[in-house]
Subunit: 245 residues, 2 copies
DNA sequence: ACAGGCCTGTGAAGCCATTCACATCGGCCT
DNA sequence: AGGCCGATGTGAATGGCTTCACAGGCCTGT
């Protein structure tokens, strides 16, 4: 289950190009951190490049590192013994993941795999925890990060328990389109991936999307979805459940 | 939606009896905190007593306080427009809740109601945040708390997406029985409440429990469930899904 | 001790989503 | 161009869970 973790084999700390770090620097979590604290944080980092499909870590592994995505996207997912699997989150360039195991020192709660070719920075727990203790601002940043994650995850529980297919799909689309604002309303994702994010089958997702496409609420492209009627989908989520006809 | 929050109307800080505080003091989160830090934490607290069924706060309220349960239990839940509702957590004496809104200053993510008559301590954000900043140990404690919550909530997402009724019910029973170790294997809870915790109907839950009772895996009492075959239920969860016959 | 309210137990009917089984399309590699 | 593979599109059959409709049990208040 565990397999070789490619991260552990990374060669020693190289020099970092400033444009790579700037992706992180721009992120809300680090933007208003003191420059010297940020620099010191980066001093603990190791650089890695991964090919699409590579396992970064698996659920249950002893997790001792925080990982920042410089380019590409990472898939956080879990899978059941009978082969079904669920995507919990997609981490994009400029975001970080693996913070839970880093901060509490316990095992990883999910699998992480490179969803595209990726460039990553890896920060190890051993040197990191004392640093956090000494930097109240950084600790508060992590508290904020954890709060945000908790809000998102609670939301997910809410969706999955209270909403049916249309509601869940709509709210997944809205969330994804919020995240990809720069690309306009186009979401680059396969229907297979969406189905694993909302926890229903690809076929069901496809039929619902098609129905919405006919009504002009979305447009389907190959490997992408364009949200046309944002408000309508939002209403559908708020209304609770049943499809709007 | 909001309604009068009984907490805001609490009269000024009274003197606290030490035996009440001792419930908190014993909790893992505070046990190894410096005594003076703990005392100062308590200085910010207000004491309140609530009757069963009272709303403590509602989803969407501006949340500015952390609440500790001295006695009784508090239900954290959410509800959909069409009347369905889901229990996210039951907070018992010695535990705290409401930490997300306290720490990030945003609105409450769920409803909280007194599930029994309760005694609570309420700590306000205004005076609390600067205090956390100045106490790295306390900040680390909250980071641990948030990590634990996040693990639990992620687990819930995993359960709800990947498991069917038997799996979800079994894992809910196991979790509840872990929490109530002192009472042996008896879980005091109604089937209605369990159904709202696992996100399925009371009727379905009842039928499954009955089937397990016949096989001798559990025993049903009025308002309680006794887990008899812990291992069998655990296997059922691990196996993935389908009922053990 | 009786009434009313929550809790439990159970069957029949229906429905939403899954499962299964294909057909088609597009892109990429050789 | 041909071939392949991953992604999309769709219908029919199946099934797990819900919905609905009651019946009985246990506890509590008066």
């Amino acid at each position: 289950m565990t397999g070789a973790s490619p991260i552990e084999r990374t060669s020693g700390a190289p020099l970092f190009s400033n444009n790579k770090l700037s992706v992180l620097r721009k992120h809300p979590y680090f933007a208003d951190l003191e420059p010297e604290a940020f620099d010191q944080l980066c001093r603990y980092a190791k650089h890695t490049t991964l090919k699409r499909g590579t396992t970064i870590f698996s659920k249950g592994d002893p997790g001792t590192s925080l990982i920042a995505v410089i380019s590409g996207t990472v898939k956080i997912s879990i899978s059941s013994p009978d082969g079904r699997n669920a995507i919990l989150n997609l981490i994009e360039a400029g975001e970080i993941f693996g913070e839970i195991a880093l901060l509490d020192g316990l095992s990883r709660t999910a699998d992480a795999t490179a969803n595209t070719n990726c460039e990553l920075f890896v920060i190890d727990r051993r040197e990191f925890i004392p640093f956090v203790r000494s930097q109240p601002t950084l600790a508060m940043k992590f508290i904020e990060l954890l709060c945000e994650r908790l809000r998102r995850t609670s939301d997910q529980v809410e969706q999955v328990i209270l909403q049916n297919l249309p509601g869940r799909l709509a709210s997944a689309l809205l969330r994804l389109s919020d995240k990809h604002k720069p690309q306009g309303r186009t979401i680059s994702i396969t229907q297979q991936e969406i189905s694993e994010m909302v926890g229903m089958t690809r076929e069901s997702i496809n039929k619902q999307l098609r129905a919405w496409a006919i009504r002009g609420w979305v447009r389907l492209e190959h490997g992408a979805i364009v949200v046309l009627k944002r408000e309508t989908l939002q209403e559908l989520v708020d209304a609770g459940a049943n499809d709007g006809e």
